[in-house]
C-alpha cells in the first residue's frame, strides 16, 4: 500500500471516528445542526450521480428532495399511515416525479433538458405555495417524530436532534456513499460516465441514452427523496423551503465546489457549506445576498471544484504535468 493510500485511509478513519463520536463532544444544538447537514450531504451525493457522473444539468433536484419529504409527512399526518408505509410513499413519490421530469426533459434537445427541469421545479414550487391545505405553506407540516419507533422490537425512538436520529442519518449517508461508489464502478455506472464523456459515441455504441438519463434521474431522485425525509425527520417538520428552486441551485453549487463525480467531495461541500449558511442565517436576515454572490463566484473562480483549484496552485501544476 502506497503512502498516499495509507494517508487517505487514515484520513477516512479519522473523519468517521470524529463524526461517530460527535454527540459526545458536541452539544445538543450542534448535533441537531450536523444531523441536518449530513442529510443535505446525502442530498448532494444523490445529485452527484446526475451532474457529476452522468453530466446532466438538472435544476429540479430539490423538487425531488422536497416531494420525498412531503410524501412521508403527508402519509404520516394527513393519511395516518404508519411510519414505514409513509417512507415508501415518499420515496415512491420522488421516484415517480423524477421519472415524469426525466421523460419529458430527454425529449427535448440541447439545453431543453435544463429548461424543462427549471419549468418543473418552478411549477411544483408554485403549487406547493398555493396549495397550503396540503403542504402547510411556509409553516409546513409538523411531524410528531417522538412517536416514531424505527424498529418494532428494539424501540429506537426518532426524536428531532436526538442521538439516535443523528446515527440513523450518519449510517444512511455512509451506506449510500458505499452503494453509490459501487454503482459508479458497475456496468451501469460505466455507461453513465460514457454518456457524460461523449453522448454521441454512447449513442453510436447502441446504448439507449435517453432511457439511461431517465433511469439515473429516478435512482438519484429516490435517494434525494430519502435525504429529504431524513432532513424533515431531523428537523421535526417539513416546509415548502425544502422544494424551492433556490435549494436546487445550492446543490449544484455544492456539487461543483466539492468536485463533480467524486461522490465524497460534494458530500463534504454540502455539509460544510450548509453549516456555514446556517451560521450566516443566525447572524443576519440578509444571508441570501451571500448565497447570491457565492453562486456566480463559484462559476467564475472554481468551475471544476476546489480539488482542481488546489491542483492549480503554484508548485503543484508542475507535479501534475508529469505523466
Amino acid at each position: 500500500m502506497s503512502a498516499a493510500r495509507l494517508g487517505r485511509a487514515a484520513l477516512l478513519l479519522g473523519g468517521l471516528a470524529l463524526l461517530g463520536g460527535l454527540p459526545w463532544w458536541a452539544g445538543a444544538y450542534a448535533t441537531l445542526a450536523v444531523t441536518a447537514a449530513l442529510a443535505l450531504g446525502l442530498f448532494a451525493l444523490s445529485y452527484d450521480l446526475v451532474l457529476g457522473v452522468s453530466g446532466l444539468v438538472s435544476v429540479s433536484h430539490a423538487t425531488l428532495f422536497g416531494v420525498g419529504a412531503y410524501g412521508m409527512a403527508i402519509g404520516m399526518t394527513r393519511l395516518e399511515a404508519g411510519f414505514w408505509p409513509s417512507v415508501l410513499l415518499g420515496i415512491g413519490a420522488a421516484a415517480a416525479l423524477a421519472w415524469v421530469i426525466g421523460f419529458f426533459a430527454v425529449r427535448t434537445s440541447g439545453p431543453g433538458f435544463i429548461i424543462m427541469t427549471v419549468i418543473f421545479a418552478h411549477a411544483v414550487e408554485s403549487i406547493a405555495n398555493v396549495w397550503t391545505s396540503l403542504t402547510g405553506g411556509e409553516n409546513g407540516i409538523i411531524l410528531d417524530v417522538s412517536r416514531i419507533s424505527l424498529v418494532a422490537g428494539l424501540d429506537v425512538r426518532f426524536t428531532a436532534g436526538s442521538v439516535p436520529a443523528y446515527y440513523v442519518v450518519l449510517a444512511s449517508l455512509v451506506l449510500a456513499v458505499v452503494l453509490c461508489r459501487r454503482l459508479v464502478d458497475s456496468r451501469l455506472g460505466l455507461i453513465l460516465r460514457g454518456i457524460s464523456g461523449n453522448e454521441l459515441r454512447a449513442l453510436a455504441l447502441g446504448h439507449r441514452v435517453g432511457a439511461y438519463k431517465v433511469l439515473v434521474n429516478v435512482i438519484a431522485g429516490a435517494l434525494a427523496g430519502l435525504a429529504g425525509m431524513l432532513y424533515g425527520l431531523s428537523q421535526g417538520f417539513v416546509s415548502v423551503d425544502l422544494l424551492r428552486v433556490l435549494l436546487s441551485v445550492e446543490v449544484i453549487v455544492w456539487t461543483i465546489l466539492g468536485g463533480p463525480g467524486t461522490l465524497i467531495g460534494p458530500v463534504l461541500a454540502a455539509v460544510l457549506m450548509s453549516l456555514g449558511v446556517d451560521y450566516l442565517r443566525s447572524l443576519t436576515h440578509q444571508y441570501l445576498f451571500a448565497v447570491g454572490a457565492v453562486t456566480p463566484l463559484v462559476v467564475l473562480v472554481v468551475p471544476a471544484g476546489l480539488g482542481d483549484l488546489i491542483d492549480r496552485l503554484p508548485g503543484r501544476a508542475a507535479r501534475r504535468a508529469r505523466p
Binding site: 434537445s109 398555493v130 441570501l288 445576498f289 462559476v299
Partner: protein
C-alpha cells in the same frame, strides 16, 4: 358564460400574450444567438415594474414619462451586468451561465426586497376609460398595451430581419466562428442582443405593472410562464416565442374564467407536455 365574457377574455389573452412575448423573445434570442440561459430575465421584468412605480412616486407626473425612464434604467442595469459580472460568462457552458445569472437574479430580488419591502405596490391605470369595439366595451389601457406590444414585437422582428445588426445577429446564431472570421464584431453583437432582451423585459414589466401589480417575486412568477412559452415556440426561435406567448396568454385568460391562476399555469404546463409528446422540437423549429 356568455359570448361577451368569452370575447373579453380572448382580448385579455392577447394583452397577456404580448407581455409574455416581450419577455420570452429576450430569453429565446439570448439562447439562440449566444447560448445564454438567463435566469435573471424575470428579475429584469420585475425591475421594469419597480422602475415605473419609483418614477411615479418620485414625482414624475405621467406614466408615459415614467415608462421610458424605467426602461432606460433596466437597460442600463442589463448592460452594466453584461460588462461586469457576466462578461466572463459569455461563451461558457449552459450550467455556468445558469448559475451566474441565477445568483445575480437572487441578489436583485433581495435588494428590491430589502429596499422596498415585501408588500406589493400598486399604480393606477394610466388611461382610465373604456372603448367600444363592436359588441365589446374594453378597457382602453389594455388595448394600448396590445398595440404597443405588437408594434414592439414587429419592430424587433424588422431589426433582426433588415438591419445590419440583424444580419450579424442571424449570422452569429448560425456560425459564430465563421462570422467572427469574416470581421463581424461578435462581442458587440452580444451587447446588442443582451441590451435588446433587457429592454424588452423592462418594457414588459413596465406595461404589466398597472395590470398585474408589483412585488419582489413577480419576476420569479413570470419566468415559469416565459420558459414554457420559449419551449412551446421552439428554443431560439423569435417568431415561435411570439406565437407561444400569445397562445399561453389566451390559455391563461380563458382558464381564468373557470380556474384559479395557479391552475391555469398548470394547464399551460400541460399544453407544453402534450406538445412535447407530439412535436419535441417545439411548435416552430428552434434556431438550430
Amino acid at each position: 358564460m356568455t359570448a361577451e365574457v368569452l370575447l373579453l377574455q380572448l382580448a385579455n389573452g392577447l394583452s397577456f400574450g404580448v407581455i409574455f412575448a416581450l419577455i420570452a423573445s429576450g430569453i429565446t434570442l439570448m439562447w439562440g444567438i449566444m447560448d445564454f440561459i438567463n435566469m435573471a430575465h424575470g428579475d429584469l421584468y420585475m425591475l421594469g415594474a419597480y422602475g415605473v412605480w419609483l418614477a411615479l412616486v418620485a414625482g414624475i407626473g405621467s406614466f408615459w414619462l415614467a415608462l421610458p425612464l424605467a426602461v432606460a434604467g433596466v437597460l442600463a442595469i442589463g448592460l452594466l451586468l453584461r460588462f461586469t459580472v457576466l462578461r466572463p460568462v459569455f461563451g461558457r457552458a449552459p450550467l455556468q451561465t445558469l448559475l451566474a445569472t441565477y445568483g445575480i437574479g437572487l441578489i436583485l430580488q433581495q435588494a428590491v426586497l430589502a429596499i422596498f419591502g415585501p408588500f406589493s405596490k400598486e399604480i393606477p391605470l394610466p388611461i382610465a376609460g373604456q372603448v367600444t369595439l363592436g359588441p365589446l366595451r374594453y378597457p382602453t389601457y389594455r388595448l394600448v398595451v396590445i398595440v404597443i406590444g405588437l408594434v414592439l414585437i414587429v419592430a424587433a422582428w424588422l431589426v433582426i430581419q433588415r438591419s445590419t445588426y440583424g444580419i450579424w445577429i442571424r449570422a452569429v446564431a448560425q456560425d459564430r466562428t465563421m462570422t467572427a472570421a469574416l470581421g463581424v464584431p461578435v462581442p458587440r453583437v452580444y451587447t446588442v442582443v443582451f441590451g435588446l432582451g433587457s429592454a424588452l423585459a423592462g418594457i414588459g414589466g413596465a406595461l404589466a405593472a398597472p395590470l398585474f401589480g408589483i412585488g419582489p417575486t413577480i419576476g420569479a412568477d413570470i419566468i415559469l410562464l416565459a420558459f414554457i412559452v420559449v419551449m412551446i415556440g421552439g428554443l431560439g426561435n423569435y417568431v415561435g416565442s411570439v406565437v407561444g406567448g400569445v397562445l399561453i396568454g389566451e390559455v391563461i385568460a380563458l382558464g381564468a374564467i373557470w380556474l384559479r391562476p395557479t391552475e391555469a399555469y398548470l394547464v399551460a404546463l400541460g399544453l407544453l407536455l402534450v406538445l412535447l409528446l407530439l412535436r419535441p422540437q417545439g411548435l416552430l423549429r428552434g434556431a438550430r
